[in-house]
Symmetry: C2
Subunit: 272 residues, 2 copies
């Protein structure tokens, strides 16, 4: 674990990340000592810095620190947490804020192989996502809605929960983005009003376009989403993971274009 | 500063308060070595514990720790922060979570006397509050919207910002609740969908009722709110603070019933 480049595992109570969730994070796949999709993660982090009014971090310093931490890691998960640092009077941020960089390394999650071959069960969460345009798209530290949604179920047979917003629109999974394939067209919920604009979501859209697969970003109700020929979820660690079951509907895993899955695996994890 | 009853000023990076804003807080006025409105603060904290699924803390232990910290304090602000503690896999909380209690003591803010005699200027923030019923009312650690709203202005002549929700309804100030007096009736925004149910807000409603002042909790648009004969803001440290100006409208400070202000001061701060 590195805090501002130094080995450490504690932060001051005054840190605004703790006090207000005033910060951002990135969850980055590591293979063979390298952070994957680094540029895309840094672009999203920069968007967050701009939107929250943080001074911009030197991304080459972040990369050097990341490499120091993960140099011996064959396969793992790097979590990069950036808070606004300490200080300020109440909610008001200090003008001269010095953000705090926290890098932690975690084991690769033991997702069952069957998730990727047979697909996962997806449930619909009762916890809604509040629509908050100013925070939409960002991977910020205000994640109580996701915590409450994930705590709704214990059944290990259910891999992920789908979250709706307060207007009954499909947004995302608790820790993933959602895609629907319908008559060859790939759709994913519009995230203008809420939700995390995942790095893997972006990669999937880009690669689908390159492969000539039509893509659409739009408002989707749960009923529309369930009419898909195939559904899948994405995040930076899973890549693409097919959905086999959502409420009363069953979905065919085979309808997901293999060339898209392989292309994503290659770009995201270096698998050939 | 006390963490779990011990003098300390750092928490583990693994704390879910930092990772996800998975926690609650209370900002408590201290006078003559005593926390004020302790029971009301503990009732709200308990509601938060129940809603977030925390094991309930022993409130007498919290009181003992608070008293230890503030025993020599003539006048100050006690911040009590309660996180879910460390652990869990991702957003999912551990079944055996051990919440972390963080008590910090801060100086009384130097609010100008004129705020209370002549009233404050209130502005309307651009940052909206997302409607999220599952979190509504709680004083939780997901406060990025308030941080962004408070960062909208620098002018020290403006004391507070009014926040609207995504449906254009008045919710609260960045760090206060809002009240409108109109033809002798005291109205405050309904907080079913979002906002913090302030301890001082509750006290003001209770005391107004005791004094025979009609009170209403309802949905309020900005236009309606501006039609008030008088406006004021409340929080646990300020008590009642009158508003003299909101956009093009000027408000009379004298219309706020003195018996209500005195009654609140006595209950909240022991002033007679």
């Amino acid at each position: 674990m590195l805090i501002d480049g130094q080995p450490a595992d504690r932060i001051p109570v005054s840190d605004r990340g703790l006090q207000y969730g005033d910060g951002l994070f990135e969850t980055i796949a590591v293979t063979d000592g390298e952070p994957r999709l680094w540029e895309a993660h840094m672009e999203r982090l920069t968007q967050g810095e701009v939107r929250l009014g943080f001074p911009l971090q030197d991304k080459s310093l972040l990369l050097a620190e990341a490499r120091e931490l993960i140099s011996d890691t064959k396969r793992g998960v790097l979590k990069l947490l950036l808070t606004r640092g300490s200080g300020g009077r109440g909610y008001r941020a200090p003008h001269d804020a010095t953000p705090r960089r926290i890098l932690t390394l975690h084991p690769w999650p033991d997702y069952p192989d069957a998730w990727f071959t047979a697909g996962i069960r997806l449930r619909v969460c009762e916890t809604r996502i509040g629509r908050s345009r100013v925070l939409a798209g960002l991977k910020h530290l205000n994640r109580l809605e996701q915590v409450l949604a994930r705590n709704e179920w214990d059944d290990p047979e259910i891999a992920e929960g789908l979250m709706l917003d307060e207007n009954d629109l499909v947004v995302e999974g608790t820790q993933s983005n959602l895609f629907m394939l319908s008559e060859g067209c790939l759709s994913t919920p519009d995230l203008t009003d809420c939700g995390v604009a995942g790095v893997m979501r972006r990669l999937v859209l880009e690669l689908a376009n390159q492969l000539g697969i039509e893509t659409v970003t739009k408002k989707l109700t749960l009923q529309e989403f369930k009419t898909g020929d195939a559904l899948f979820i994405t995040n930076s660690i899973m890549g693409i993971c097919p959905v086999s079951e959502l409420e009363e509907r069953r979905f065919s895993v085979e309808s997901i274009p293999e060339r898209l899955v392989l292309s994503v695996q290659k770009q995201a994890f270096g698998k050939v």
